[in-house]
């Protein structure tokens, strides 16, 4: 039976999922938290793409962002600190048929998980990675994070942060094999949805940094950008984000940016003061690791068992000739 026929057969009974089908419980984030916007956006994406919950996995590390899988009625994996990406890569390797989403935070990804982050970009496995970046450690009540701006007073830096913050977009754009880099902010839900939707449709690792407000610990941190639309730079392009008239009316500061232009993408990633929103870079031709390493033969139980036996046989203790002789003489 052709695939088209099979789809046709399956559509004999129309199955459409509603937003509620993906909602698992009431989020325990603080009231007003930007994570809510991200959660809504991914739930809408799942519904609009009609993703089957049993074919969808949300993976996270530790932090406020790490709670996201709990609120999705799909498969989920709340992993250990900094290791969301390796877990997601393992899932994708074993089950390339699943849709894999990763939620990670500025601490989880850019601090303890930085090594995995760099290599996940290079491996370019097909998944959507959302970096929930609130520039502070919120779950543990306000410590400095690698993306905290210089001078930010936190519990660990009472005299203000000493270092310049890491720029996650610029770092990602500097890694070999990077294939999709975008930015969104939680307070423009329309653009947030469009950006993650484009990331979802991109084949390869889609890295989306989502600037996320923390009303509990840094309530005023993003006010300049939330209050002043001129400080948001909307990136639009026919192969990138398409801006609706409603959005264009509020956010007049726009740039036509071709997502295949890596060097301009890098410049945009490092703009001082302005927050770019849209697709900075996209290259669909970068190969995915799971395709490069696709198994050519079926790993059936027998094959796996035979492989294990062969490995374990290497450790079989064999008697030396002397031992055998001494045993024989007894």
């Amino acid at each position: 039976m052709r695939d088209a026929d099979r789809e046709c057969l399956l559509s004999m009974y129309d199955e459409r999922y509603a937003l509620e089908d993906y909602q698992g419980g009431v989020p325990r984030w603080c009231t007003g938290c930007g994570n809510n916007a991200i959660l809504t956006a991914v739930q809408r994406l799942c519904r609009d793409e009609n993703l089957r919950p049993e074919k969808t996995v949300f993976v996270s590390g530790i932090g406020c962002s790490g709670r996201l899988p709990h609120y999705m009625k799909t498969y989920g994996f709340h992993g250990i600190h900094g290791r969301a990406l390796p877990i997601a890569e393992g899932i994708k390797m074993a089950r390339p048929d699943l849709h894999v989403f990763v939620s990670t935070g500025d601490g989880d990804c850019c601090s303890i998980g930085a090594a995995h982050w760099i290599h996940a970009i290079r491996y370019n496995m097909n998944m959507l990675v959302m970096l929930h970046d609130n520039e502070v450690y919120g779950l543990t009540k306000m410590q400095v994070s690698p993306t905290s701006p210089k001078g930010l007073r936190t519990n660990t830096t009472p005299k203000g942060a000493y270092l310049e913050p890491l720029q996650p977009l610029a770092v990602t754009l500097g890694v070999q094999n990077v294939s999709f880099v975008a930015q969104a902010v939680d307070w423009i839900p329309e653009a947030l949805y469009e950006v993650i939707s484009m990331g979802f449709h991109h084949k390869g690792l889609s890295f989306v940094r989502i600037v996320q407000r923390c009303p509990e610990w840094l309530p005023k941190q993003f006010d300049p950008w939330v209050r002043d639309p001129q400080k948001i730079l909307l990136l639009s392009h026919e192969r990138g984000l398409q801006i609706s008239p409603a959005l264009a009316k509020v956010y007049k500061n726009q740039e036509q940016h071709d997502p295949s232009n890596l060097s301009r993408g890098r410049e945009i990633a490092s703009l001082p003061d302005l927050l770019p929103v849209g697709i900075l870079y996209r290259n669909p031709s970068v190969p995915c690791y799971e395709d490069l390493r696709k198994l050519t033969r079926l790993s059936s139980t027998e094959v796996i068992r035979a492989g294990l036996e062969a490995q374990l046989d290497k450790f079989t203790i064999r008697m030396t000739g002397q031992e055998r002789n001494s045993q024989g003489s007894q």
Partner: protein, 736 residues
Amino acid sequence: METEFKADVFFHLTGKRRGFGLDTIERLNLLPALFARYRKLEKLRYDFPLVLVREDSGDTWVQSLSELFDSMLREIAGDANGDRLIRHGLRMEREIRTLLAQDTSGSFSALWDIAASQLSNSEDLFWDSIKRLSSLRKLDGEVVDCDKATPGRLFRYAWETVQRKKAHRFRERVNRLATKLSDILRAGFARSEEGRSPQMLRASVGSGYEQSFDFETMSRLLARSGSDGLTRERSRRVQWLLSVLQSQRFFPAQSGPEWRDEGAELYSFAFENCASAVEAYRERLPNMVELTKALAIADLEIEGRYEGSRHDAFFEEFGAENLDPSEAALFPDYLVHLNAHRLSAVEAATVAEALSASLPVKVLVQTDNIVAPSPLVDGQLAFGLRSSRIASSMIGGEIYVLQSSSSALFQLRDRIYRGMENSGPALFSVFSGASENTSHVPPYLAAAAAMESRAFPTFVYDPSAGRDWASRFSLEVNPQVEADWPLHDFSYEDEAHQRVPENYAFTLVDFLGCDRRYARDFAKVPRSAWEGDFLGVPELLNNETGTIHNRIPYVLMLDENDVLQKVIVDDKLIQEARHCREMWRSLQELAGIHNSHADRLLARERKAWEEQLRHEAEARGNGQMPAGRGTAPGLSTSIASPPSPPAELKTAPPSDEAYIETSRCTSCNECINLNKKMFAYNSEKQAFIADRDAGSYRQLVEAAESCPVSIIHPGKPRNPDEPGMEELVKRAAPFL
């Protein structure tokens, strides 16, 4: 008045020799003049012999011997002993050709060894060269020269190669499905009552740690977890699927030559006639349907998407009529090898029927003798009557059709493979060149001459190549496709030992010259009479207006001593040549060459264009500027006006009413937590004011203040009596 009987004119008109001066060419074994260069084929490097590349030794399925040697010799190009290696390599190649010409056969490596041992004593260092060259020999396979068996072997090999790949794909799919289906059964068992029994749990732990567990308790705990094993219906279905997949007889279960020994015997798919192939197809159809059904159900089953209540009804109705060509393409194709001379009318009708019914048959019709006399009209030729007619009557539909002389088979190797690979039927019509009537000509040469002379043109009709004839039909392999007859440079030495260059067109008459049956239609002109009123056959054929009279057509032929002979031709063959040219021209038209429709259209357009130019020239003469010259029509020269600003967006609702800019809501729950009745989420989980009167103006103002993105606009108060109204109105002001 003097009267002289002209024997040549009489011969031309009647085909009978009367009087003196004309010799018969029978038993002279004359050859067309252009064959002079090809007397000793084994000394030449050309497409043949071919190596049918063994699957494990290369990517391509067929390779020519000379190309094989070339690629070996390319690798040693920079070597210090390069010259010697190349010389010895080419000696080896010639030796292998000679061996084949002496009817030795075998694989490339076997022939290589024989040739090496025969040449080993010929020169010092020869062994050294052979050793070097052997290390570069990568491909291996049967070597095939151009003879009567070639089409059969070549096409069968192409077919086998495709079937092997199909079998591989099929096995991969079935093995995967079988593994996943067994996994379902295994998982089902583990969750069943029996699978959760203490004995089973004990057995799964192994003896080492048996004492550490309480299997009774474990079993009870697992039973309480609630999930049960497979339903009886699903388990039965999965078992049925496994049995169908594993008992199929279409493909071997293992790769390699060994057939499965257990279970039923495998089907065979190569046939000597179409009727038995069709019969076999019909007989196996129910099994094919069942297997297709099983594959489809298994695909759904392993995804967990098969639901009996929904899908059973469909699959119960699933029958042969639901099979489409892409599904049939999963299964092996039926190869039918026919010989045109033994092709009965009934069989020919079966072939046509099977092909047009889109059965997965690959029919090879081999012709050894394309210019047999017509069975209907005495003395008239029937060009490859059966094979060629079948082939040309089949083009235009959904059938892959390829016609070729065996000399061009190597050039068409990709096309042949494509035809075999293509889902759906294919028809291959091949002229082998091995006719007993041309036994003094090597089959390769006879086949090539048939193609050159347009007696057996090569064409490919590939329905999968596109939607129109231009992309589907191709004559590309034929020499000089634009011309009626291909023109060749030809030079000879005259009696004064001077070189005489000439252009010589190769026509049907030249081709018939090598066929003994037509010797009576030719007559050799004695040397003394060469200066008569003769005219080359191509010139006569080109003279369509008939202005040349009284000139007798001739062709140049070679005798066994390589001496040129002028041979005149009777009118019957000239008529045949015209007929042959007409057939060629209609093929040309199909291929878009000198297409009459296109030519007419072109003439009309050219006329219109010239007319326009003339008008413009006249206009210029009158001092007017030509309009629109140099720009494409429809493009205005003015700069496009800037795009009009987008239509004004809907103006915001009046600020008297409370409202939320819903599309900007970040779903942060602030307002919802304040008053669930007043504020609610829509289907996008974005807030709107559900019931303005479900709360106070104070709540509205507080919601506006706490909204992180300031999209709540409280509007004017409805109830002016609310306590603290003055202050509230002040607080609401920034959000109006």
